[in-house]
Amino acid sequence: MIKHLYLSILLIIACFMPAQLSAIEIIANLKVPDNSLSQSQLRRIYTMRQLRWSDDSVITVFVLPRQHDLHNRFAKERLQIFPYQLNRIWNKLTYSGLGVAPIIIDSEKELIQAVINTPGSIGYIYEKTLASIQPTESDKEFDVKDDQQGNQGVVNVIKIED
């Protein structure tokens, strides 16, 4: 009885849930040596407290505008920080001369292009967008014997470890 009630409640909640949101992927320029980062490292990079990759090359940080839905989700879900807190940290750097804030890119499409073109850069995109520009893991396995060079993709997908 309790089990049925529990399932019914879950079903009712599910009915009111929005359509499943696309996950967020962290991408970097292909020349970036790191393939994975801890969540703390990712947060340090976006709060401008870590400025170099593991090979000592400079990190260039790209972000979407403050009111972009992907930006707000990225801040809360991947950095566990509220977007206004990020703004405050970046404004302080920019307007007090203490440092440099991330570069704002208008759209997801332009952000991908910026990451492709800029050595040492990092950004974030929807998983579905990544799938449209880059071969998936299964594609790679299937094609690995045919073409090892051509399947690396256009960006480096960074795995975030908890």
């Binding site: 703390s40 407290r49 509220f82 920019t94 007090s96 001369g97 440099v100």
Partner: protein, 428 residues
């Protein structure tokens, strides 16, 4: 890694000691303006000559700015103007640039134009103009040395007080962020060291230490001492340190700051009401800030010690300790609308909190001995880079009205006064 950091800092410290002795001679007004203009034009020229579109150019050279215009109306004091009417003296403009010379060296500068009526001197000024050397950096440590004119980064809002959209209210709590003292407290010419440490278990730490001095204009002297002071006020030095700590993945941040500064006053040999003097000023603050999804809380507790030798008559000596605090909260009603409430309590002498002794000994009305303020306000974000703010202040006391040393009870004849302001701001 840590030993390398220490070696770098020791080496840098020796250099800075010798540099600080000459810093004030270097940073003339003309030199600082030239410095900022050269960065802007060299960066722009560099960007222009890049034939191919390249993101690294954007990273190397950045240009930002802000415009804020508003109206302010004060009833019962000369905080903004002597006439007490509605005033447009709430203008703040700023333009800044940053140019990355090498991987470790960066130039940055900001010029601002301010018009705040009686609050501070009207006009252009170089807010900061500095060379930033990233002396050491790794995954968890960063050490930067800033040379030139740098911002005071030690109090909760000291580095963002000049930036309208980055501070919590149009008028900041005056007991800490006293506008009459703005040009001296906002930054210094000298050297500033910042060491940041990020630790997965303990959290983020920021250690700052600065040494320098601020030029004090005749207008600033008049604002502080009144128009009967014909001599020169000179800051001998300012030593300022602070520590900030944010526990790992916490919404809280805690800070502590210590300031020691000496000034002297050289009386005008031809004619002056006042005499040669030495002033010793110490200021200690503790602060906490909570940033939740909807609620924000922040507050600072502080103590100041002001020692005067001379000035009124040769041999005069006074040592007074002022104390106070403010607490404020902001609530985000919607992503665009934020409400503000603040309470501030401050007195200039802990042995004379109600100002009665001040009145008995000097004849200055008692209410110049304290300053309490209740503020309600709101901010509405029109877009990503546009905002409108409005706020109302209910103030008791004249402890933060200028001139400070010789208060003007004729213009400020009531203990209670009010003020409201509305400001529109745009930034890029």
């Amino acid at each position: 890694m840590l030993s390398k950091l220490k070696t770098n800092i020791v080496w840098s410290g020796l250099f800075l000691l010798s540099y600080c002795n000459y810093a004030h001679k270097l940073f003339s007004r003309k030199f600082l303006y030239t410095f900022v203009i050269v960065i802007i034009f060299s960066g722009a020229a560099h960007a222009e000559t890049e034939k191919n579109y390249n993101q690294s150019t954007i990273q190397d050279f950045q240009l930002h700015g802000f415009i804020a215009l508003g109206l302010i109306d004060v009833d019962g004091s000369d905080f903004v103007n002597d006439e007490e009417g509605l005033s447009p003296d709430l203008t703040e403009l700023g333009l800044n640039t940053s140019y990355q010379l090498t991987d470790t060296v960066r130039l940055a500068g900001q010029v601002v134009y301010l018009n705040g009526g009686n609050r501070y001197a009207k006009g252009f000024r170089v807010d900061y103009a500095l060379l930033d050397w990233a002396a050491y950096t790794d995954e968890s440590w960063q050490a930067n040395i800033y040379l030139g004119r740098f911002k005071n980064n030690h109090w909760l809002y000291s580095s963002s007080r000049v930036v309208p959209f980055a501070r919590p209210s149009i008028i900041l709590p005056q007991s800490v962020y006293f506008d009459g003292f703005r040009d001296i407290a906002v930054g210094s010419d000298g050297a500033y060291i910042k060491v940041s440490h990020s630790n997965d278990k303990l959290g983020n730490f920021d250690f700052s230490l600065s040494y320098g001095k601020s030029p004090i204009s005749d207008k600033q002297t008049e604002i502080l001492l009144g128009d009967s002071a014909f001599g020169k006020t000179i800051q001998d030095y300012e030593l300022h340190g602070s520590v900030y700590w944010q526990p790992t993945f916490s919404q809280w941040r805690f800070g502590l700051s210590l300031l020691n500064s000496d000034f002297h006053y050289n009386q005008n040999q031809d004619f002056d009401v006042f005499y040669n003097a030495e002033f010793d000023f110490q200021f200690y603050t503790m602060n906490a800030m909570y940033e939740g999804e909807y609620w924000e809380f922040s507050g600072e507790i502080y103590q100041q010690r002001f020692v005067t030798d001379g000035f009124y008559v040769p041999g005069f000596h006074k040592d007074s300790t002022g104390q106070g605090f403010y607490g404020q909260t902001r609530y985000k009603v919607t992503p665009n609308l934020t409400l503000l409430a603040k309470y501030e309590y401050f007195y200039l002498d802990k042995n004379d909190k109600d100002g009665k002794k001040l009145q008995e000994t000097t004849g200055v009305p008692y209410y110049f001995g304290f300053n309490n303020d209740v503020t309600l306000g709101l901010a509405y974000g029109v877009s990503s880079n546009m905002e409108v703010r409005a706020e109302h202040h209910w103030v008791e006391g004249g402890g933060r009205l200028t001139p400070v040393v010789v208060p003007d009870p004729q213009k400020n004849s009531s203990e209670k006064w009010t003020m409201w302001a509305i400001q529109f701001m745009y930034w890029f």
